[in-house]
């Protein structure tokens, strides 16, 4: 609930959200919007982004609720859904499970990729929607197969693919579930999902949609961030070193919280001579949890895959999702892109911590008990600290987002001289709602917050 509150306090953002809300209102129908939006970009096929904005605007207009309540409420509900679905996937039955779940939830919310999902909105964060969908699909295939669950999973895949390309991870989970013979994953669902992904690729090809390529975004390289032009100059002729760097960096960003956006803070600190404490907190907390996951995975590998239970299969699936997410970072690394993998990382944490607690409970020596106890005390404290940082960062974002509405006049916000009267009127309403949203200035937040919580 406190997370939802922090998310809800962020005003609708000028960047990434306003233009989408305005543009989505123009076509005469949703079908017309679907057709038009499918051809608006040469690098992406994301019509659902505009459809969602249109539908949410329609709710605001029809009910008389504020746009803030509808759009930010949807985002806050999404935050609650992710936590609720995570708990559903974990399915705690014993007090020991509840303890492991408490730990895993701090990892889920404290991870920098989760912060990115909650901080940004387009106008509702697509990556958070994909993460929620992936959790739903995972929860479904961990339970006995049901037609309703399979149908919803396929619907989520279709909707997700039209929302953002990361939805391919839903297909990865369905397919991996079938390959691993998980209880709720039937072959026919996997085949249907595969056909849908192939159709999606064919439609992209028919619409002549291609990937963004090198230089479309700035990205990190070693200790610095290179601009799009600098990346083109360096890697246009031979992009493979950059691709490999990004894929490896994408995976490490998740399991070690380093690099961030492709920049290794440790290298940057070596050059600048100062290391921010947040880097140490994030690196240490992530390495501790990753070590626990690795130990648990090693134990799983000692058993034949045929004898694997749901936990071992979920670990394998999590590893696969992290790998595919890292591959999606080939062109540039961004926290959002690996956010679904971040959720899977938290699921793997739950399994690993529960496994550790189980072993302590049954077969451990005093030495092991002390080691596990130390691990839990240190890492749980660090992750709880990171959770507080997520709230801190969300409040900073609220301040920045609200200020964006104050620094430009309404006509400029509505698109300049060509803006229609309706657009300006809507912008005036959105601006009034944003200014009415009370936020806290970072000047009132702890001075040390920037150094310990913000990278």
């Amino acid at each position: 609930m406190s997370l939802a509150q922090s998310v809800y306090r962020i005003p609708i953002q000028v960047s990434d959200s306003l233009e989408v809300i305005l543009v989505a209102k123009h076509p005469t129908s949703s079908l017309s919007l679907l057709q038009q939006a499918s051809r608006w970009s040469s690098t992406t096929l994301r019509p659902m982004r505009y459809l969602q904005a249109r539908w949410l605007s329609g709710i605001a207009e029809a009910t008389g609720w504020s746009y803030h309540m509808v759009f930010r409420g949807a985002h806050a509900l999404l935050a609650i859904s992710i936590v609720a679905l995570f708990t559903w996937v974990a399915n705690p039955r014993r007090w020991l499970d509840v303890a492991a779940l408490g730990f895993a939830l701090t990892v889920l919310v404290g991870l920098h990729t989760f912060d990115a999902m909650m901080r940004e909105s387009f106008p509702v964060n697509h990556f958070a929607e994909i993460a929620a969908a992936t959790l739903f699909v995972l929860g479904t295939i961990l339970r006995p197969a049901r037609l309703l669950g399979e149908t919803i999973s396929i619907a989520l895949l279709v909707g997700g693919l039209l929302l953002i390309e990361s939805a391919v991870l839903i297909w990865v989970v369905i397919l991996a579930g079938a390959v691993l013979h998980m209880p709720g994953a039937r072959r026919r669902t996997a085949v249907t999902a595969t056909v849908i992904v192939m159709l999606f690729m064919a439609v992209r090809s028919y619409l002549e949609i291609t990937g963004p390529g090198i230089g479309a975004h700035s990205s990190g390289w070693g200790a610095v961030t290179l601009s799009g032009d600098e990346l083109k100059a360096a890697f246009a002729d031979d992009p493979w070193p950059f691709f490999v760097y990004n894929v490896v960096g994408g995976a490490f960003s998740l399991i070690a919280s380093e690099p961030r956006f492709g920049v290794y803070q440790l290298l940057a600190a070596r050059e600048s001579g100062s290391l921010s404490p947040v880097v140490i907190v994030n690196l240490l907390s992530s390495l501790l949890v990753t070590s626990a996951i690795v130990i648990c995975c090693r134990a799983a590998l000692r058993v034949s895959p045929r004898a694997w239970g749901n936990d071992q299969k979920a670990l394998a699936m999590g590893t696969l999702v992290i790998g595919v997410s890292a591959a999606l970072c080939a062109n540039y690394i961004k926290d959002d892109i690996i956010s679904t993998a971040g959720v899977m990382y938290a699921v793997m944490t739950y399994i690993a911590v529960r496994w550790l607690l189980d072993r302590v409970d049954t077969t451990s020596t005093m030495m092991r008990v002390v080691a596990v106890g130390l691990f839990l005390v240190i890492s749980a404290s660090l992750w709880a600290f990171r959770v507080a940082g997520t709230h801190y960062d969300l409040r900073r974002s609220a301040f920045v987002s609200r200020n964006d509405w104050a620094l430009k006049d309404q006509r400029t916000l509505a698109g300049g001289e060509a803006a229609s009267r309706d657009d300006i009127s809507l912008v005036m309403r959105l601006r009034a709602e944003a200014l009415a949203q009370r936020v806290t200035s970072p000047s009132f937040l702890p001075d040390w917050g920037e150094r310990y919580w913000v990278e």
Partner: protein
Amino acid sequence: MLPACLVAVVGLWSILANNAGGWVWAPDEVNLPEAVATGDYAEVRRQLESGVDPNAPADVRKRLLGSKPVRVTPLQAAVWARSPIMVKMLIDGGAIVSSTSLAVLKCMNDENNNHDVRVLLDAVPMGRGPSCSEVTVPR
């Protein structure tokens, strides 16, 4: 599990206490000079549009401008904070500058030496005002 429980309790308290300015997160109620001092453009805009007097002095909490609380006008806070955007926003929003208050602002800016603020203050049409030795600069 204890740290997670602590976070949950603190989070719940945050929800219950925040709107009233609880101890978990700082209060979001600020007066106009405080909004200016903290770079809160949106709050400045909101207060100006809701009819708050842009000339009224108010107490600014310690550490926002100085090490102790200080009573300043919004324009004085903007000059103290070296924010030309705030100075312009306030003048556009109806802050009236007299020859004496302009002299105070210029003397304050002499101490901070912000070129952009100086340009804005020099552009205010006003006759010759008192010198810095003849006015009291808030500190």
